[in-house]
């Protein structure tokens, strides 16, 4: 299908919008205090990834990117929450206050610095990039990778920590749909399978921790710290 130049410009702008909202959702995951809210933001983030994948598949005429969109559409908004609900008990799920290592305003400042750092890191790569979409997706992907890593490091509650990790994976893919539209389908499927396995295993582990230790605040587990022993 051939698109005229106006449609191309419109789709390109929509992709940029999806990128902006993707970044905003990741910031939201840094800031939110509720487990449920964190999950909703993660789902929204995944949906913007899917939107970007669909737009780029039209723009780049790539069936592979379309497949990435479909795979993410099935796995992230539906299967991951379903797996978590199956494995983790509901009281974990509905916890409100998340105790964080660094308070939220300071977190947001650090997140801002990380996002700027991500854009800065991406700039030398953009000099060799040919398409205009890489300039949108790669810096946002890199920035969100750092933000997801930050979220996972400061969260102390199990489920939001997992969601931070999955946000990192979303971010890698957000960059991926623009830079490697021809990624083999088997790799995409395997990565999606990996994400589901991870959610399942982390869910199981969280339930075991809840049963044996009586908390899901994994940041509070310090039995293995060497200096605390007598």
């Amino acid at each position: 299908m051939n698109l005229n130049s106006e449609t191309v410009a419109l789709l390109g702008n929509l992709n940029a919008l999806a990128g902006g909202l993707f970044l905003l959702c990741t910031f939201g995951m840094v800031a939110t205090r509720q487990v449920q809210g964190c999950l909703r933001l993660f789902i929204a983030q995944a949906l913007f990834l899917v939107l970007s994948a669909f737009l780029l598949s039209g723009l780049l005429h790539s069936r592979h990117v379309f497949a990435v969109g479909i795979i993410n559409l099935i796995s992230k908004p539906f299967l991951v929450p379903w797996l978590l609900r199956r494995t983790v008990r509901s009281e974990v799920y509905s916890r409100r206050e998340i105790d964080q290592l660094i308070n939220i305003p300071a977190s947001l400042l650090i997140a801002l610095a990380l996002a700027i750092g991500g854009f800065f890191l991406a700039s030398p790569l953009l000099r060799v990039a040919d398409g205009p979409y890489v300039a949108v997706n790669l810096p946002i992907g890199l920035a969100c990778l750092l933000l997801g890593g930050y979220t996972a490091s400061v969260r102390r509650e199990a489920v939001p920590l997992l969601l931070g990790l999955l946000a990192m994976e979303n971010a890698a893919f957000f960059a991926g749909v623009a830079i490697v539209p021809e990624l083999p389908l088997i790799a995409e499927l395997a990565i999606a399978f990996d994400v589901l396995m991870l959610s399942f295993i982390v869910g199981l582990l969280t339930r075991t921790i809840h049963e044996h230790i009586g908390t899901t605040e994994v940041g509070a587990l310090t039995a293995l710290k060497e200096e605390t022993k007598p």
């Binding site: 060799v128 990192m168 790799a187 991870l198 044996h212």
Partner: protein
């Protein structure tokens, strides 16, 4: 074709372990599959050492020198761990269900470990590495104690964070490959187009993969999960984690070295390696748990291998390969010896174990043997590999790096042996005539069998193995 069979064997054992057939079937099936995989791996490795290519699925599953070396080590450690598990897990597993759970997961873990060296498509390699983490996490948590659950949690969080960072690295690597005009995406294909790939992309990809998989290898400062996970899992699993799982992650990082066209890359590798060796050698001195002692020693050895790769040239690369070989066989032995000690004294605390040689001569002798061998005393295999790295360092004119490496290895030598010496020969507190503990037969047999290569390779390197190491070292050069 034999590569596919090697891959399928642990899966078959896993399926058998799933079925409720009693307490003996799962261990037997696992052992049988591991031995068969090891024999087939020897055959494939001999084939590779003879200069032939082993290809199962072109562009997807194949074996070259480096892959054959790692495959050999994975299957060897898988076999010793399976044999040791027979006696060890019979003691540890509370019910048949838990026993089968252990064997199902350990077979899946072995499958993922085998997949890493035989897969040649880098994207699939990422999945294989990730599966090694996913399949081992519930084994780390196996004991379901507070400590093991905490260790498992730290482990999975660090593993996936590393994997996500590395994923972007792999995507950028693929981008660089396509920009460089590559056709078949394999490690060899990457090397072929390396001169055409934009250096900035390769550099960024390498950096991301180094940080991501460096977490899995346990380089300082992202090593914090390693002593926890490697001390809490059941001992045969620790042998696999420390002996080969860290090595397979390092294998992927080392695969990228020939692609780099940066100046001063050697200096960077040396710095990262030496920081790991140095910090780990000092951390070794202050441990209170003997399994953590060996875990820190793993961090140290990963640093030594990276330093050897940084020394570069044929000598340094050969030293790195030799160190990979000797570390795997020796460290897995050490954890099996630690498992035997745990069976004998039922505590992991160094301070509570004194005079082990009187309580359990077999465990005491094995621990002493393992300690001496991993610290690098002659005439064991690690001594020879470390010596070859020093020699390469001096020949390359890396005097400062070699001196630092020798100093840190010396400190680690002291650190390991001071603890082991007290445990084995120290005067027992309380009861001066403790009752002797008999270890299960399969455990003693494993310790004897696993000690043979450590002794033999210290004095004699068979020609095919030398060929294999040379070919593996060639995979690191540009």
């Amino acid at each position: 074709m034999s590569l596919i069979v090697i891959l399928v064997l642990p899966l078959a054992a896993m399926v058998i372990s799933l079925m409720p057939l009693g307490r003996r079937v799962a261990p037997a099936a696992t052992l049988l599959a591991a031995v068969a995989a090891f024999v087939l791996a020897i055959r494939a490795a001999l084939h590779v050492a003879g200069g032939n290519a082993v290809v199962a699925l072109p562009n997807w599953v194949a074996l070259d020198g480096f892959g054959a070396l790692v495959l050999l080590l994975v299957t060897l450690v898988g076999t010793t761990a399976a044999l040791f598990s027979c006696g060890y897990m019979a003691h540890h597993a509370r019910s048949e269900k838990r026993l089968r759970f252990y064997y199902v997961h350990s077979n899946l873990f072995l499958f993922a470990l085998i997949a890493v060296p035989v897969v040649v498509e880098p994207n699939i390699e990422w999945i294989a590495i990730e599966l090694t983490a996913l399949f081992s996490v519930l084994l780390v948590a196996y004991e379901n104690t507070h400590e093991s659950l905490e260790a498992a949690w730290k482990y999975i969080a660090m593993m996936f964070m590393g994997a996500a960072i590395a994923l972007l690295g792999f995507l950028i690597l693929f981008w660089a490959f396509k920009t460089g005009g590559g056709e078949t995406y394999t490690w060899d294909g990457l090397r072929a187009v390396a001169p055409n790939m934009p250096p900035v992309l390769v550099k960024t990809a390498f950096l991301l993969i180094l940080v991501g998989f460096g977490m899995k290898v346990g380089f300082v400062p992202v090593h914090t999960w390693l002593p926890d996970a490697h001390s809490q899992a059941p001992s045969p699993i620790c042998a696999m984690l420390s002996g080969v799982k860290t090595t397979v992650a390092l294998y992927v990082i080392l695969r990228l070295l020939p692609l780099l066209r940066m100046e001063h890359i050697e200096a960077w590798l040396l710095t990262i390696g030496l920081i790991s060796v140095g910090v780990a050698s000092f951390l070794l001195l202050q441990v209170r748990d003997y399994k953590r002692l060996f875990a820190y020693s793993t961090v140290e050895h990963m640093g030594i291998i990276f330093t050897a790769a940084g020394i570069g040239a044929a000598g340094g690369h050969y030293g790195a390969m030799m160190q990979i070989l000797t570390h795997s066989i020796t460290k897995s032995f050490c954890f099996l010896a630690a498992g035997a000690t745990l069976l004998a004294v039922e505590t992991r605390e160094i301070a509570s174990v004194r005079g082990l040689i009187r309580t359990s001569p077999a465990a005491g002798a094995a621990l002493l043997f393992g300690g001496l061998a991993i610290a690098g005393a002659p005439p064991f295999a690690v001594f020879l590999s470390e010596f070859s790295i020093f020699k390469a360092g001096l020949l390359q004119g890396r005097y400062l790096a070699t001196a630092l490496l020798a100093l840190f290895i010396g400190i680690a030598f002291f650190g390991v042996l001071v603890h082991i010496n007290r445990m084995v020969f120290g005067r027992p507190q309380g009861n001066p005539h403790p009752t002797k503990v008999r270890l299960p037969f399969s455990c003693v047999l494993t310790l004897i069998l696993a000690a043979i290569p450590i002794l033999v390779l210290g004095v004699y390197l068979p020609e095919p193995l030398h060929q294999l190491l040379t070919q593996a070292a060639a995979c690191l050069s540009r």
